[in-house]
């Protein structure tokens, strides 16, 4: 989650809800999609 927060702040392409959701999944140690 902290990695995602950092990416939201430093990368303007990671600001939409969809992009944030994708990053949260990607950065999760359990790298499996978890939203419907």
């Amino acid at each position: 989650m902290i990695e995602t927060l950092h990416q939201v702040l430093t990368d303007s392409s990671v600001r939409s809800n969809q992009a944030v959701e994708a990053k949260l999944v990607q950065n999760s140690d359990v790298a499996t999609p978890w939203f419907d």
Binding site: L5, V30, A31, T32, F35
Partner: protein, 487 residues
């Protein structure tokens, strides 16, 4: 600094010396969350930082989701700096927080560095903000005029002066390095082609061994035995070396089991396997039977895995004939038994009762099962794709009531996804915690180990902590997205 932060700061400074967390000091306003939007940005940043320093779990995904939007609203450029009437102080507080979070904001730190290069004098709070708890880039401090005349000012200066440098490398880490280097010295002597492959696998093992579990498990167990003094016999280090060799060998063999093996790696695997076996025999010549039993157990389990724990795969299709049963997980332990051979050899030199021997088996089996399920949780989607019916994959298929048949991988994965997060993930975390607890209970019951021992602290507890933090991270991430997404 507002009154609530002054209290939090004083509390943190006075308690941190005793390593007492600030967890009991979460103020009433934390529960309402309005401070995240209503307080001045400086106090909001500082409060998050102080709460986090006291207890990482005091700041959740919901807080950080709201905080992300707050920072974006004050953004001057992407990545910072951030606007306030007191830009240097505000950005220093932000930089400090993100350093503590382990995700430094490079542009904010550059901004601070540039500001400081032209600064001749500064007040106490600015000096403190660039110095505590991390020393940010700064010019010579001798030019700074510091004469705090308030209690909090004096405490700020004191907190900076009390920063201690990081601890030296621990003794066990140094011993782990000896084992790692010993194994590398052997690989360095191999002929160039084998040496090249050997070094790449050696690096792979050292990189995954972040807690020195592979190189130092025998050391941790030796150190944990009641009556053993604080010195480590060379034998314990050699057991770590033998374990590194075995890990290299079985990493390569696993590639073959997964039908991804490369023939050019096979000779190295055989060499490492032989080297591991002979090192164990050399150190414990009278325990040949135990050593061979452990190697046999791993090889028999690998054979069983191919027969019973594999689904046929072809062109992104997975064919499920029967979902394998893992029972109490003994198969998982048998498959990894080589990993605990060193500790078991150390314990074999003690005169244990039959009951104690049974408890020793239980201690290590539960540890191995917890460790394996933890790994399987991360890999379930890939395992499914590769036809590997791991513990987690099997549990998922069972829980989702998937019938025998041939499925498209993506379709099946999507069907299992919701079940994974809603049911299986939490139930697997619960099983991991249960196995670790059982191992700890048996440690106490065996009366072999010290009360406060390295095996629990450095091996078992980190697995339980990781499982709990994975669950918390998942819950926090969902909260973060929810609060970030609210317009």
């Amino acid at each position: 600094m507002n009154e609530e932060n002054k209290l939090l700061f004083k509390s943190y400074i006075s308690k941190s010396r005793n390593n007492t967390p600030l967890s009991n000091h979460v103020p009433e306003s934390k529960k309402h969350k309005s401070w995240l939007n209503d307080w001045h940005i400086n106090d909001t940043v500082l409060k998050i930082h102080l709460l986090y320093l006291g207890n990482k779990n005091a700041v959740d995904g919901d807080d950080l989701g709201i905080f992300a939007k707050r920072l974006l609203a004050n953004e001057l450029e992407v990545g910072g700096p951030y606007y306030s009437y007191d830009n240097l102080y505000t950005n220093a507080l932000i930089a400090q927080l993100f350093r503590t979070l382990g995700a430094p904001l490079e542009k904010v730190e550059t901004y601070i560095s540039e500001k400081l290069s032209t600064l001749m004098l500064c007040d106490t709070k600015t000096y403190w903000s660039i110095s505590w708890p991390h020393k940010l880039s700064r010019p010579e401090l001798k030019n700074l005029n510091l004469s705090p005349n308030t209690d909090i000012g004096r405490l700020m200066i004191k907190s900076v002066n009390n920063i201690t440098s990081s601890k030296n490398t621990s003794k066990t880490k140094r011993l782990a390095n000896i084992a790692e280097n010993y194994a590398k010295e052997y690989i360095d002597k191999l002929e160039p082609t084998l040496n090249k492959v050997g070094i790449s696998f050696w690096n792979k093992i050292i990189n995954i061994d972040t807690r020195s579990e592979i190189s130092s498990l025998a050391l941790y167990v030796y150190d944990s035995i009641a009556g053993n003094e604080d010195h480590y016999p060379n034998k314990s280090i050699k057991l770590g070396v033998a374990n590194i060799y075995a890990w290299i060998a079985y990493t390569i063999y696993d590639d073959f089991i997964d039908e991804e093996g490369r023939p050019s790696h096979l000779s190295l695997a055989n060499l490492m396997h032989r080297q591991s076996y002979s090192t164990f025999i050399e150190e414990f010549p009278s325990n040949k039977q135990i050593i061979e039993n452990h190697f046999d157990s791993v090889d028999v389990s690998n054979s069983l895995e191919i027969q019973k724990y594999r689904f046929a795969t072809a062109e992104d299709m997975v064919t499920i004939e029967q979902i394998p049963e893992y029972g109490d997980g003994t198969f998982l332990a048998n498959r990894a038994l080589g990993h605990v051979l060193g500790p078991k050899l150390i314990l074999s030199e003690m005169e244990l009762s039959a009951h104690q021997e049974k408890l020793v088996d239980s201690i290590f089996n539960n540890y191995l099962i917890a460790r394996q399920i933890n790994d399987d949780l991360k890999d379930w989607a890939d395992d499914l794709k590769n036809g590997h019916a791991s513990y987690v994959v099997s549990k998922l298929l069972d829980s989702a009531e998937i019938s025998p048949g041939t499925y498209g991988y993506e379709e099946l994965r999507d069907r299992l996804q919701a079940n994974f997060w809603d049911v299986t993930f939490e139930s697997c975390i619960a099983i991991i915690l249960k196995k670790i607890n059982k191992s700890k209970q048996d440690i106490i019951a065996s009366k072999i180990f010290k009360n406060d021992n390295s095996f629990v602290k450095k091996v078992l507890q980190p697995i339980a902590d990781k499982a709990e933090s994975d669950l918390l991270e998942y819950k926090n991430s969902k909260q973060f997205l929810k609060s970030y997404s609210v317009s």
